[in-house]
Symmetry: C2
Subunit: 253 residues, 2 copies
């Protein structure tokens, strides 16, 4: 059997508000496109609509700016209210330079601005990352499985920049149903040698593939189905924290 | 029109030797599978088979180990001959620790072991990255276009580790025909705000998607076709060096 994947962008999902039933809106939009959910579909959902449905949208005018945030705002030439939100979401500052604040978030992700985003939201508002994107992935997978009767996986995606290479790519901040890392230790290569220690960050690759159809600004395509992963990825319990280095393992901090 | 991508792993390409006609072997294997090349196909080829066809395979027994390589080999607990090859391919050492040597290659890529690989090659041999993977991408694109009469793009892929996240992902080290970075500056988001400066590393995302069907050890699938990118990616002259930071831009060196 040949190895094929299909990546299907789901259009027609309306603007999301706090409390919306994301799963119903996704399933309706898919049905409207004539796309039915199949067993082993990997359903990639951008963190932004999950955050919006969970009410993780902040009015900047209501942010109380601390002295620390004001100082960093001056140093970095950023909005002090955004800096305050970044500090609230961060457990460690990784790099602070003009226009740039890279932190480790409470969840353990190293990213710019703690993942806080002012695009695709009303003026004067900002969207935070979901409170617990790993828990969101589990909850959404269960809800989709209940309503469709299919076994699926759910990946919560975002776009992060990288060290050493310019540009952002789709990455995973929550995964349920397929592994975050595919462990190839001990596999034998084509010449009979035992493979070195290599893990493939498959959840990130699935989210990168999905990001190609979503577009950076989620141009009305906040969900994509990646179909065909079952030839490579076995169903399993999983947790995106598998991809996070401990401080000791991290070569770049 | 809906946004869909298809990723097709091409099986049946034989073990590659120096001087082999990669394009003919790829086109034969695709035809054997009943896959014909279409306009706008993005053809992702692992660097390893390009290196092999270009004769970039080294016998470790013929490597002359310098004093510097021997010292680093002792410090890192690595094969001195591999260390010598890494030094030959590097223009800067980025991190040197036990079992780990991260360098900037002559091409400008920051990666472990200068991309040198001992898997899927005969014992006592190692595969170097292509001499100039960007030039390889251009040459292979032209050859495929000439023989098929189709307008395609070619991406040379490898798998690199990342800072801050465990696991390797497919990335691009040479691209011809689609952009390396998709520039979204000045685009207007759904709420009428001008987007921040954001570039999407689309060539890396295409290679990540392809890597899902290839598998980390190229399990007999060293080429994949990514079909459907034309709804997002316009044909253009391109160069993977667009994704490389200058030293001044690089926050992590």
């Amino acid at each position: 059997m040949s190895r094929r994947l299909e990546v299907i962008g789901i259009e027609g999902i309306p603007e999301i508000r706090a409390g919306d039933d994301l799963v119903a809106l996704f399933l309706n939009a898919a049905a409207e496109m004539g796309v039915s959910i199949e067993d082993n579909d990997a359903i990639v959902i951008t963190s932004k609509i999950i955050s919006k449905s969970e009410g993780r949208v902040v009015s900047l005018s209501e942010v109380q700016v601390s002295e620390e945030a004001m100082k960093i705002a001056v140093d970095t030439d950023k909005d002090p209210r955004i800096v305050q939100l970044i500090l609230d979401e961060a457990r460690e500052l990784v790099r602070v330079e003009r226009k740039i604040i890279i932190v480790e978030t409470r969840h353990g992700f190293v990213c710019a601005n703690a993942g806080i985003d002012e695009s695709n939201v009303e003026a004067d508002k900002a969207v935070l990352l979901p409170e617990d994107p790993q828990a969101s992935a589990v909850r959404l997978r269960r809800a989709i499985e209940e309503r469709t009767g299919r076994s699926v996986s759910v990946l919560v995606s975002d776009t992060f920049g990288r060290a050493f290479r310019n540009g952002v790519t789709g990455i995973c901040i929550g995964v349920s149903g397929i592994p975050a890392l595919l462990d190839r230790r001990g596999e034998i290569d084509r010449f009979g040698k035992i493979a070195r220690i290599t893990k493939e960050a498959v959840a990130d690759e699935v989210c990168a593939a999905a990001n190609l159809v979503m577009g950076e600004f989620n141009e009305g395509i906040p969900v994509a189905i990646v179909r065909g992963t079952e030839s490579v990825l076995k169903r399993c319990e999983s947790d995106i924290r598998e991809v996070l280095f401990s401080h000791e393992e991290d070569l770049f901090r």
